[in-house]
Point group: C2
Chain length 644, copies 2
């Protein structure tokens, strides 16, 4: 076995095998990982078992030589700062012109090294003469398709694969991010976050901060409006118009910021050759892309699955969610009859009892969302998408539809069919509070306690003096990273409350603002201490979440004008209008606001001025370089002619 010497070896990535994995299989994996690239098509990495006895030889530490990493960086077309400070695709032959390249240890970020290793592991195939998985004689290898990772996955031998957290690096970012007291009101250093977690996670935090900052003016205006002695119509419409403009500008400015970040991170014109997902299955066919045999799953089958299975199930879930709402509604009405509003003045318990059904309902929404999330993942897996991007788009749209209905249906019904604004206010309060408290608990505090308990178990079982190794600790106590979409969903739900109903209930924005200031830091803590480190994943925006938020903004214009129009006080303000005139007035107002939103999105250019300048500059310089090169060659040719 070719384990590396201790001195040079920096463990970067962990493969965690299950107890059932035969030793021969593990040896085989190590052999494939360490085999040289040229002779045996291996990955040319450094591997060793974790020395901690607690690992039971199930934890593999993977590293690589600097040269191997540089080769990988070149293949992945990673961009690094060039001598003129612009980013440029890394080339080994040109390494001396890249910034910081004499500093061998820190030229590549740790997250970049881990990504390089992970990409290499993902495409690693069995050697050409191997016909079955060593240690498992029943598992045959199909050479056209199987990778080492696929085989391990299908045999259930792999518990997890993750890059190692780095305590020192975390210490460097956590102080300004969430650990110190004044971090609460500081902007994040998003570049540090990106360097540690990669672009994908950094975009989430950048978005959360940008959104939270955008809440400040609305929250303040909401506060002013709530206490301003004026007619309801004036108050509401002022707040509504402000919100339409503000959130349209918000979405556009976010687009600009995300392009600016993509430019600074070198992911703007990123072209990644997407490999099929490891779970993708199908028959072997000649691929039009690689011209090799690849698994192909016919499109019509997926379409059939969508129309015959997933869409009906989604509909069923929506129906169920509606049914639960109406069940709640029946109970609420019974309770309201039992404890009439007049009684609340006499009996304080009556007021509380009236709150019970809505609290119960909001508590029910959370597990429903969770169950649906699992179901959505299951269904999207079942649809068998080839690429990760289309997988995520399909998952997001399923989640979007369900969350939209499940979270907002009660509010819509109360607001637009019952016109019972007391109930709307009550539901909104409960939702926002429950969300703030319960989600914090289930997402962060719970797993953190779980982690502490596990850690205690670990140290109790092992000797007290010997410290358990980092890899073992992270493999056994941290939650595997599942992607950022849960976190986006949380913001999405909250943005829904803020955007859809805020014209009439301005205080929701204040709750959201306070919640988010803590949320950001709690999430940061979660990513550092509760989750296993995610592999850095290049990204150039927040993906389909952008559309989700944009759609919500448009729907918000409709709901808010309708809400305002339905207020009795506003109807009274326009008492000289007939019903038809009144409706037409508000329909016209709504259309004007929709046109305004569109005009704003059109008027604000997507690409910020500084990025345009920088791109033009790059292009100009490379054109000039080409021209000079050519002129130099021509001069040389002339000179050599003269000499002869």
């Amino acid at each position: 076995m070719s384990t590396a010497s201790n001195a040079n070896f920096e463990p970067l990535v962990v493969l965690h095998f299950s107890n059932a994995t035969p030793a021969a299989t593990k040896e085989w994996v190590i052999n494939r990982l360490t085999a040289s690239q040229n002779d045996n098509d291996g990955a040319d990495l450094l591997v060793r078992y974790d020395p901690d006895p607690e690992s039971h030889n199930n934890i593999l530490l993977i590293g690589a030589t600097l040269h191997r990493l540089l080769v990988g960086a070149e293949e992945l077309r990673m961009k690094k700062p060039y001598k003129n400070k612009a980013l440029r695709e890394f080339l080994i032959s040109d390494i001396n012109h890249f910034d910081n390249s004499q500093n061998h240890d820190s030229f590549l970020l740790k997250s970049e090294k881990q990504r390089i290793i992970w990409e290499e592991i993902q495409i690693l195939r069995p050697a050409k003469d191997e016909n079955f998985v060593p240690g498992v004689p029943t598992k045959a290898i199909t050479h056209e398709n199987d990778t080492v990772l696929n085989l391990l996955d299908s045999l259930d031998f792999l518990v997890s694969a993750f890059p190692l957290h780095d305590k020192e690096d975390i210490k460097l970012i956590e102080r300004d991010w969430f650990m110190s007291k004044d971090a609460l009101f500081k902007s994040q250093d998003i570049h540090k976050v990106r360097n540690y977690f990669g672009e994908n996670v950094a975009y989430y935090f950048a978005f959360l901060e940008f959104y939270t900052k955008a809440l400040i003016p609305t929250a303040l205006l909401g506060l002013v409006v709530s206490f301003w002695p004026s007619s309801d119509f004036f108050k509401y419409s002022l707040f509504c118009i402000f919100n339409v403009i503000w959130w349209s500008v918000f979405i556009e400015r976010w687009k600009r910021l995300s392009i600016k970040l993509a430019y600074e991170w070198g992911t703007m014109d990123l072209q990644i050759f997407e490999r099929p997902r490891s779970l993708y299955h199908g028959d072997l066919q000649l691929s039009p892309i690689t011209n090799q045999k690849e698994r192909r799953y016919p499109k019509w089958k997926r379409t059939l699955k969508k129309y015959l299975v997933t869409y009906p199930i989604v509909m069923l879930c929506l129906a169920l969610s509606l049914w639960i709402y109406f069940a709640y509604y029946a109970v609420q009405q019974k309770t309201d009859k039992r404890y009439p509003l007049e009684a609340t003045a006499i009996l304080p318990t009556a007021k509380l009892m009236r709150m019970v059904p809505s609290t119960g309902y909001s508590l029910l929404i959370i597990p429903m969302n969770l169950i649906y999330k699992k179901l959505a993942i299951f269904m999207t897996n079942y649809e068998n998408h080839r690429l990760q991007t289309s997988y995520e788009n399909n998952l997001t749209s399923k989640l979007f539809v369900f969350y939209f209905i499940n979270c907002f249906i009660g509010l819509f019904y109360e607001a637009f069919f019952n016109a019972n604004y007391g109930n709307v206010a009550q539901l909104l309060t409960v939702f926002v509070i429950i969300n703030a408290i319960l989600l914090k608990f289930t997402e962060q505090i719970g797993p953190y306690i779980f982690k502490r308990v596990k850690k205690n178990q670990l140290t109790r079982r092992g000797s007290v003096d010997v410290k358990v190794s980092d890899a073992v600790k992270q493999a056994k106590t941290l939650t595997p990273f599942e992607g950022t979409y849960t976190d986006y969903l949380t913001i999405f739900e909250q943005y829904g409350y803020v955007a859809l109903f805020s014209a009439v209930f301005p205080w929701v924005t204040i709750c959201a603002l306070i919640n988010n200031i803590f949320e950001l830091r709690a999430d940061a803590f979660k990513y550092c201490y509760v989750y296993q480190r995610p592999f850095a994943q290049p990204a150039w925006n927040i993906g389909s979440w952008h559309y989700a938020f944009d759609i919500l903004s448009s729907v918000a214009i409709v709901t808010n004008t309708a809400l305002i129009a339905m207020q009795p006080s506003v109807r009274q303000y326009f008492s000289s209008y007939t019903d038809a005139e009144y409706i037409l007035f508000f329909v016209a107002a709504e259309h004007v606001l929709l046109a305004l939103k569109f005009a704003i999105s059109f008027a604000i250019p997507d690409i910020p001025h500084e990025v345009q300048i920088a791109k033009a500059k790059n292009l100009y310089e490379s054109n000039m370089a080409l021209r000079h090169e050519r002129e130099r060659k021509a001069l040389k040719a002339q000179e050599s002619l003269r000499k002869n």
Copy 2:
């Protein structure tokens, strides 16, 4: 003077000087154009005077050696088909791997050669030791900024600069395009159009054809619906729903087609370093892009000009256009009183007299549009935009606003305020017919006759036997090309009539279809025989016109539902509804249709599958090539180690 020998010289581009140009200045221009690139920073082109005495030495013919053209193609990063059939940036050192490269004459298209020469002329500067324009001692040269072309422009010495039409090439495309009888119902070979005119013009013709084809189903359905014995509500709403879906799909499918064309033409990821427009003026400042002194015009000045001058003028024009409409309206009402509807049965002249005002009004709209177009160009020039793209965007949006109001205000007023559908129908008829006849005349037949007359004058003045040279003919008889936006405006106006009012007047689509079948061929004729040849201009879509058509589609949903709702027969159909319920029903229907349009645009992927596959394939192949290259190098290194 270094004129080329007759044998090798292929004249490609023409510079047409005014009679006032001093001979010394012309000599200077020729010197700059022919000076070598390395020694004197010249353009290294081939130049000669047109030998025709009719040219009075005012017409300069410009060509270039093949090597000079190849160098230019490399500098412009032109893409040519590589041996594996994919497009690749042209490199002289790699020329043998490009398709058709042994065929020196036809490797570069004529339009490409002309573009290369034109780009070179545009950046040509005076020699460093020249301090004033030869022949004009009063005109000093500012070396940081002045190009030869700028100087000639500012002295009014240049009548026109254009590439030469090629009779043989035109013969090859005209037969299938517009000359034969069956060409009327044939698809264009858009690639031939692109090869001759460049991407910019090709996109216009591709769009016109795509739009005309899209009219067929709506026209047919419109015909069916017009004669179908059914309730108005059913007929109208069927046609309206169909149109919403159809035109949404149309816009999305056009997006896909234009991306496909951009991919096939190699303009998809095109990055052009845009030079400032030659008319751009400002103070000399250090440019952040080129790091050299360049003219810069402060942004606040442009913003001020926009808010203080252009926007008020646009408003004034809109007001004038409204005023003219209401003047027409007053006259129409007087006429209607004088010739009441009942009289038309008795007096046939009464019916005609009733048509007079609306015909007059529609005739008035055309010169108003023309005057406004000139004004819009003048104002956009006055705003002093740096880049051609932002210049065109600003011009388009000005034209869009004015045309929208000027063409549709009368229809809107009649339809929504007067609910006078007789008038709407009358106006629509007159607009569509006048447009079809008059525009054909002013745009095509008029200039063509003008050209014939001029040609006759030319041959009459010269000797009868000696043929006038091509360059002289084209310089003196053809109209300079002014850009495609006039043609887009014509389609835009027509699409407005079709989209905004078709639910109630389905026959408009049939007129539009018939008109367009001829329009396309007439336009093709115009580009080949009436206009001077345009320089090929790379393009990857139809630019801001896409937005203009998209906005019109959205507005169309609003107008069509409103039109349907306002039909008395439809109101009767819903006679059991109260006014408020009736309005809410149609508002809801409108929102559903808007949501449907959005869903369609979301559901249809922008990039066609085959382009996705082709891009992935390219990426995969270049990744593989990189990898093999590296492996080969590693093997070599190993071998050389073994040898030592």
